[in-house]
Amino acid sequence: MAKADVTQAEGDLHLERLTKQFGDFVAVHDLSLVVPQGSFFALLGPSGCGKTTTLRMVAGLEDPTAGTIRIGDTEITHQKPYRRPVNTVFQNYALFPHMTIYDNVAFGLKRRGVKDVKQQVADALDLIQLSQVAQRKPAQLSGGQQQRVALARAIVNRPAVLLLDEPLGALDLKLRRQMQLELKRIQTEVGLTFIHVTHDQEEAMTMADSVAVMNNGIIEQLGPPTELYESPQTVFVANFLGQSNLFQATVKETDGEEIVLEDPDGMFRMPKKRVAAGVDTSTGRKVLVGVRPEKISIGPLAEAAAAPTDGNYVDGVIENASFLGVSTQYQVRTEGGEHIDVFAQNLDVHGLLAHGAEVRLTWRPHHGFVLAPDQDIHAGVEVGAGVSG
């Protein structure tokens, strides 16, 4: 058998102005991205956002309509999949049913004509703790085990980039949690570049060093999970990752490092550095203000002292309170007619505020964020909510 001629490449993965069209449908639009070598990178988005298409272009299973793909200085844009130093863990594992686990894992090594296949396969099976099933067929393994074999089959080749296409999608919740930790451990151990495609925000945030949130074929925002969560730049990201209260406000004035905003409930202060890039905050402009439900503290209006000096506040009436054990989820209707969700930690034992109670909501100015006004305020709500539960 002729040895497969695999391109040698090392370095960061660069996607430059990558576009993929299927007929009239633009699956991926002018996407540029750098994945640093050795990092755990997640492509996160709802189904149909173009994340899997992007992954398949990197694997060589789809041919880009435009743009380039490089690993380090080596261009691989139109290379055949079997020439790329890239391996994939497929969503449904795609193990070879007629081969033993050993032969499955050895497949790539044999194609490349590697010398010590036996030792390397043994090491890979060791890594996933499945040495004992080497001689079995895939059908004799559980879903979780098959998943790990698929991982070993890819990792054993030490690819420059390892692609994972919703690898945990078919597992039940408990196993999925376990495998998340396992995947992270393996990635740290082998130090390969992992690109993980998922629609599960929790999965992406738990494992990835860096997350790119995709929607409609473009990247909405890219950054470490905490940054995406704390400083979303678009409404889609604010709603898709976790939950956000968003309401319209008008810029009243700029006061040093802060801007002062006004809405029917009164005035708010926001640090300038909490304003998303490119948002016009000159006086008189409309903007969207966002606050995460857990950043808001809630208390009876009667107990509230004079207006707090260091925070923003609104007053309202509790419309709904659901006790969840660790926390209580309140829905508050403000005097100005906004609906605001609040997650309050149950620090007191007597704690529930009753339906209809008058309350004051307060939050620190730097806990909020300011977004551009020309966006659908519900973008990403349903797709995000569907998987967060």
Binding site: M1, A4, V6, A59, G60, L61, K80, P81, Y82, R83, V86, N87, T88, F90, Q91, N92, A94, L95, F96, P97, H98, F107, G108, R111, R112, R153, A154, N157
Partner: protein, 280 residues
């Protein structure tokens, strides 16, 4: 652990009527199965028994037992020639129909092209058309383009209807395969050809083998279309049909019985092999 010391209470016997009803209830399926098998196998047994008939020219009434038919199966005129003809036709047909049919099945399952839906539909046509119609229209065709009837016209006719069965069989197997598996192979440095040879082909092979066996038995068995398109060329079914007018020789019964046992053996070997593969 020690054995239980308390005596097990003896159940009182139910009345006879109930017992008979229970027995029938428990064994109804078995009785039905036995009757069904008798119905299916009686003609075969009859053929087998009469292959030992010391019959002379016609094998319709039992005369006496003999080994002669089995020791000399080619004893009757033209029997073995017709069997050899049938086997030759069958082999050529199997080879060509399996190859063409497999390629068509791959094209239909793995590729999107203009006229794919139409092709899918047309493939079923030879299976749905009455054989008399197929046979007679083929004969018309051969006569019009002045092809002399014989071995090759029979082969062409058989390939035509066998392809449909091969396509359907291989397609079923191929559709059940995950297309991702081939992509996974290519992702693991296998070229298109290697992915086909090492992954797809071994996985589809049982379907292809089944299709080949089906094609052979269909070709071997066919009488109607063959009768129209064979001219002076005689296959085994045609021989029996013709012989029926002056009495079928017992040797035909021998060959028919032998075919049955060979087929049975192939099935048993197949079952045994697949069971071993699953356990291994």
């Amino acid at each position: 652990m020690s054995a239980p010391t308390t005596p097990v209470p003896v159940a009182s016997k139910p009345p006879t009527g109930v017992r008979i009803r229970n027995w029938i209830g428990n064994n109804l399926l078995r009785i039905y199965a036995v009757l069904a098998f008798i119905y299916l196998l009686l003609p075969v047994m009859y053929t087998f028994v009469f292959s030992f008939n010391d019959s002379g020219k016609s094998n319709l009434t039992w005369v006496g037992f003999t080994w002669n038919n089995w020791t000399n199966p080619c004893g009757a005129p033209d029997v073995c020639e017709s069997v050899i003809n049938s086997i030759s036709v069958g082999l050529v047909v199997t080879l060509v129909a399996t190859m063409l049919g497999t390629l068509i099945a791959f094209a239909l399952v793995r590729h999107r092209f203009r006229g794919r839906t139409t092709t899918n539909l047309l493939i079923f046509l030879p299976m749905a058309t009455p054989e008399v119609v197929l046979g007679s229209s083929l004969l018309t065709l051969f006569l019009n383009i002045l092809v002399p009837l014989g071995f090759w016209t029979v082969v062409i006719a058989h390939i035509m209807f066998c392809i449909s069965f091969v396509v359907v069989t291989v397609k079923a197997r191929l559709s059940s395969l995950d297309a991702n598996i081939e992509q996974a192979a290519m992702d693991l440095y296998a070229s298109e050809w290697q992915a086909f040879r090492r992954i797809t082909l071994p996985l589809v092979a049982p379907g292809i083998a089944a299709a080949a066996l089906l094609a052979f038995s269909l070709s071997f068995d066919d009488f109607i279309i063959t009768n129209f398109n064979s001219g002076q060329f005689t296959t085994f079914p045609k021989f029996i049909y013709v012989a029926d007018k002056r009495g079928i020789p017992a040797q035909a019964y021998v060959i028919a019985s032998a075919m049955f046992f060979i087929a049975l053996a192939i099935v048993l070997i197949g079952q045994f092999a697949s069971r071993r593969r699953k356990e291994g």
